[in-house]
C-alpha cells in the first residue's frame, strides 16, 4: 500500500474506519469469526437477529446450495434478548468497530420490546430492523412488503430506541423496493440496509419434495449480486441521494470489486454474508482490495466513490 488513502466513511453520524461490515446471521455474535480474522479490522458488525424470546429455529435441512448461491431457512434461531445481554454482549464490547444488533419479531410490540431492552447498552451503535426474513411464519417479511406497515414499525421502534441509530433492512421480494425504502425513511429510519434474501425453493426430483424442511428459503450469495446492485442504485437515486441517509449495500459480495460496485451504485458501506462461510477472512481481503483500487485509480478517499456510477 503506497499512498495514504482515507478508508473511513461517515455512516449516519458514525465515523467508520472503513466501509466493510459483516451481515446479520452470517457471523453469529462474532465469537467464532474471531478465530479466523481480527474482527476489529471491520468497519461494522451486525449480530444474528435477536428476538424477545429464545427461538430454536426450523427443522433441518436448513440450507441447500444452488448455482453460485444458497438457500437458507434457519428460522431466526437465537438465544433471545436476555441471554444475548448476559452471554453475548460482553464479548461484543471488545470490538472496536460499530456494533449493530439486528432485531426481529412476530409483532410490532416484540420489536419494540427488544429495542427497549437494548437501548441503554453502551456497546451498541444502533439497530438493524429485520422486517425482511422470509423464514418465519409470523412477522418478518410480512412487515417488509407492505409500505404502511414498514412505516408504522419503523416509527414505533424509532421512538423506543433512544439515541441509538435505526437502520431498516429491506426485502427484495417486492415490486418496487424504492416504495418500501421511502416508507422506512418516512417512519424515521436513520439508514437503510439492502438486500435481504429472495424467497426461493429447490425441489428434489427423486422424492418430489422441497429440499428444505421449511419448503422455502432465502436465496443469497453471488447469484443475487447484480439484482442487489441494481436495487441499491434504485434506492439511492429515488430515495436517499442528497439526504443524510446512508445505504448499507449487500447481496453476494465476495471480492473487493463486488464491494466497489455497490459503493459506486450508492452504498456508503457494504456488508458481506454468505462469502464468510467460504472464506471466513474474506472481509479483510476486501478491505485491502478496496484500498488497492483507490490507490490504482487515484482515489484519495473511499467516500469519493459513493454513488459515482455514471
Amino acid at each position: 500500500m503506497e499512498n495514504q488513502i482515507d478508508m473511513s466513511v461517515e455512516f449516519a453520524g458514525l465515523k467508520l474506519a472503513n466501509p466493510v461490515w459483516t451481515a446479520s446471521g452470517t457471523c453469529g455474535y462474532a465469537d467464532e469469526l474471531g478465530e479466523f480474522m481480527d474482527v476489529s479490522k471491520l468497519g461494522g458488525f451486525i449480530t444474528k437477529s435477536v428476538t424477545i424470546k429464545p427461538r430454536q429455529g426450523n427443522p433441518t435441512p436448513r440450507i441447500v446450495e444452488t448455482d453460485n448461491g444458497m438457500l437458507n431457512a434457519i428460522g431466526l434461531a437465537n438465544v433471545g434478548v436476555d441471554e444475548f445481554i448476559a452471554e453475548k454482549l460482553p464479548a461484543l464490547e471488545k470490538m472496536s468497530c460499530a456494533v449493530f444488533v439486528n432485531i426481529a419479531g412476530e409483532t410490532i410490540e416484540d420489536y419494540v420490546a427488544v429495542a427497549q431492552r437494548l437501548c441503554e447498552q453502551k456497546v451498541i451503535a444502533g439497530f438493524e430492523l429485520n422486517i425482511s426474513c422470509p423464514n418465519v411464519k409470523q412477522g418478518g417479511i410480512t412487515f417488509g412488503t407492505q409500505p404502511a406497515l414498514v412505516k408504522e414499525i419503523t416509527s414505533a421502534v424509532k421512538s423506543a430506541c433512544g439515541s441509538k441509530m435505526l437502520m431498516v433492512k429491506l426485502t427484495p421480494s417486492v415490486t418496487d423496493i424504492a416504495v418500501t425504502a421511502k416508507a422506512a425513511v418516512e417512519g424515521g429510519a436513520d439508514a437503510l440496509s439492502l438486500i435481504n434474501t429472495f424467497t426461493a425453493m429447490v425441489i428434489d426430483i427423486e422424492t418430489r419434495k422441497p429440499v428444505l424442511a421449511n419448503r422455502t428459503g432465502g436465496l443469497s450469495g453471488p447469484a443475487i449480486k447484480p439484482i442487489a446492485v441494481y436495487m441499491v442504485n434504485k434506492v439511492f437515486n429515488e430515495v436517499t441521494k442528497g439526504t443524510q441517509i446512508p445505504i448499507l449495500g449487500m447481496g453476494g459480495i465476495r471480492t473487493a470489486s463486488d464491494a466497489i460496485e455497490f459503493i459506486l451504485a450508492g452504498a456508503t458501506a457494504v456488508a458481506v454474508g454468505t462469502s464468510n462461510f467460504v472464506e471466513p477472512n474474506c472481509t479483510v481481503k476486501i478491505i485491502d482490495g478496496i484500498h488497492k483500487y483507490c490507490d490504482n485509480h487515484g482515489v484519495v478517499a473511499v467516500r469519493d466513490l459513493i454513488g459515482k456510477v455514471e
Binding site: 446471521g25 452470517t26 457471523c27 453469529g28 462474532a30 465469537d31 467464532e32 469469526l33 474471531g34 478465530e35 479466523f36 480474522m37 444474528k48 424470546k53 429464545p54 427461538r55 430454536q56 429455529g57 427443522p59 433441518t60 435441512p61 436448513r62 440450507i63 441447500v64 446450495e65 448455482d67 453460485n68 448461491g69 444458497m70 437458507n72 434457519i74 428460522g75 434461531a77 438465544v79 433471545g80 452471554e87 464479548a91 461484543l92 471488545k94 412476530e106 411464519k137 450469495g221 453471488p222 454468505t274 464468510n276 462461510f277 467460504v278 472464506e279 471466513p280 477472512n281
Partner: protein, 364 residues
C-alpha cells in the same frame, strides 16, 4: 461418561479475544498438497493430503471424528465421457460452499525406506506438533459435483482446507473395550479412531463392525471376496492396527447377512461371558437409520455410546446455524421451538458442539 452428559470438548465458548494472538489462524485456511488420490473400488477414493508448517501443526492435533472444510470450487471436472451417467446433470452445478470431510488417518509423514513399502507402515509414529509434515487421509464417495471434481486431483495439486473442526470421539475413564461401528460412508472417522486407540490406549480391546447395503457399498480398499463370508474377516484398514473386524451387508453379499446391529447382537451373545457393559463403549458413524438402531441397542444393553452425526453444513465453523441437531435439553429446559413453550428438546450445532454426541443426547 456420566449419565446424560454431552461430549464436552467443544461446548465451552472460546474467549472472544484469545489472550495470545497466534502467528497463524489455528484453523486455517491452510493449503494442503495432494500426495495421492487412489481409487478404491466402485465410487470410493482415498485421498492423501500433506500439510506443512502451520497446517501441519494444526492437523497434527486432529482428533478422530473431527472434520475439515474443503474448498473444491476451483477443481476441474473429469472429461465428459468419464462422468457417470447418473451424475451428468449434477456435474453442471457450480460449487460455492466448502464440503466437510472427516479423516481416516492422520500421521507424520514417513519417508519410505528400503524396509517399508508406502502405505505399509504397521504403526505410525505418534504425531507431535511442530515437527515435520503431516499426511491426513480422507476416504470419499463420489456423490455429486464436489466429490466428482475431487477425483481429478493428482499428486502436487493444492487444496484449501479449514480445520480441524468439531469435537471428536473421547475415551472416558474406565473403558476397556471399544466397539467401532461403521455404516456405509461412516467408516473413515472410525478408522482414524482405530489408529489413535492403538497409539494412545494400547490396552483397549477394540473390535470393528462395518455394515452396508451390499459389498459394493463398503468403502474399503480390498474388494471383498469369498473369504468375507467367514465371520472374523479382517478389513485391512483395521487389521493394520491389529483390530479384528466384522462385515455385515443387508443382502449378504459379504460377511454377515443383515444389519450391522444384528451382527453386533450376535457377537455380544457369543461373548456374553467376557463382556462387561460398564467397561465397554460403542463408537458409531453412519446413516441416520443405522445410528438410531445403534443408539437403541446401546441403551438396551446399557453400553455407553458416542455417535458422529452428519448434517448439511454451509460453514462448518459455527457461523450459520444450518447444522442443527435435535438434542435432549439440559435440565432446566432448552430453547423452545418457535412458539412452543418449555420443551424437552433443544438444538445443538453439529459443526461446533459435535459432530460427536453422546447417543443419549440425540432425539432421533
Amino acid at each position: 461418561m456420566t449419565e446424560g452428559q454431552p461430549v464436552q470438548q467443544a461446548q465451552t465458548p472460546a474467549p472472544a479475544t484469545p489472550p495470545i494472538v497466534p502467528s497463524y489462524n489455528p484453523k486455517g485456511p491452510f493449503e494442503a498438497t495432494v500426495v495421492f488420490n487412489k481409487p478404491l473400488h466402485q465410487k470410493f477414493y482415498r485421498l492423501g493430503l500433506q500439510f506443512a508448517g502451520p497446517g501441519a501443526e494444526a492437523f497434527a492435533k486432529t482428533r478422530p471424528g473431527q472434520f475439515a472444510q474443503f474448498d473444491l470450487s476451483n477443481i476441474a471436472l473429469p472429461p465428459a465421457d468419464a462422468i457417470p451417467e447418473e451424475l451428468k446433470d449434477e456435474s453442471a452445478r457450480q460449487i460455492l460452499l466448502r464440503r466437510p470431510f472427516s479423516f481416516a488417518r492422520v500421521a507424520k509423514e514417513v519417508i519410505p525406506s528400503a524396509h517399508s513399502a508406502p502405505g505399509q507402515t504397521a504403526h505410525p509414529k505418534p504425531v507431535s506438533s511442530g515437527v515435520g509434515k503431516i499426511i491426513a487421509e480422507v476416504v470419499y464417495c463420489v456423490l455429486g459435483p464436489a466429490t466428482l471434481r475431487m477425483t481429478t486431483l493428482v499428486k502436487g495439486n493444492p487444496i484449501n482446507v479449514i480445520g480441524p473442526l468439531g469435537n471428536g470421539f473421547t475415551v472416558p475413564a474406565g473403558k476397556k473395550r471399544a466397539l467401532l461401528v461403521a455404516g456405509g460412508m461412516g467408516s473413515p472417522p472410525l478408522e482414524h479412531l482405530a489408529q489413535v486407540l492403538t497409539l494412545e490406549h494400547p490396552t483397549m480391546d477394540a473390535i470393528a463392525f462395518a455394515g452396508a447395503k451390499t459389498k459394493e457399498d463398503l468403502p474399503f480398499d480390498r474388494p471383498l471376496d469369498n473369504l468375507s463370508r467367514e465371520i472374523g474377516f479382517w478389513l485391512k484398514e483395521f487389521g493394520r492396527y491389529s483390530i479384528s473386524s466384522f462385515v455385515a451387508t443387508d443382502d449378504g453379499s459379504a460377511g454377515f447377512k443383515g444389519f450391522v446391529s444384528a451382527c453386533i447382537l450376535d457377537w455380544l451373545s457369543q461373548n456374553a461371558l467376557s463382556f462387561n457393559p460398564a467397561e465397554a463403549i460403542i463408537y458409531a458413524c453412519g446413516p441416520r437409520s443405522m445410528l438410531t438402531t445403534i443408539a437403541k441397542l446401546a441403551r438396551d444393553k446399557k453400553i455407553d455410546c458416542q455417535i458422529s452425526m452428519e448434517e448439511m453444513m454451509a460453514c462448518g465453523i459455527g457461523l450459520c446455524q444450518s447444522c442443527a441437531v435435535k438434542c435432549v435439553a439440559p435440565v432446566g429446559g432448552g430453547i423452545p421451538a418457535g412458539d412452543k413453550s418449555p420443551t424437552a428438546e433443544t438444538y445443538k450445532l453439529c459443526c461446533k458442539d459435535g459432530p460427536v454426541f453422546d447417543a443419549k443426547e440425540i432425539v432421533f
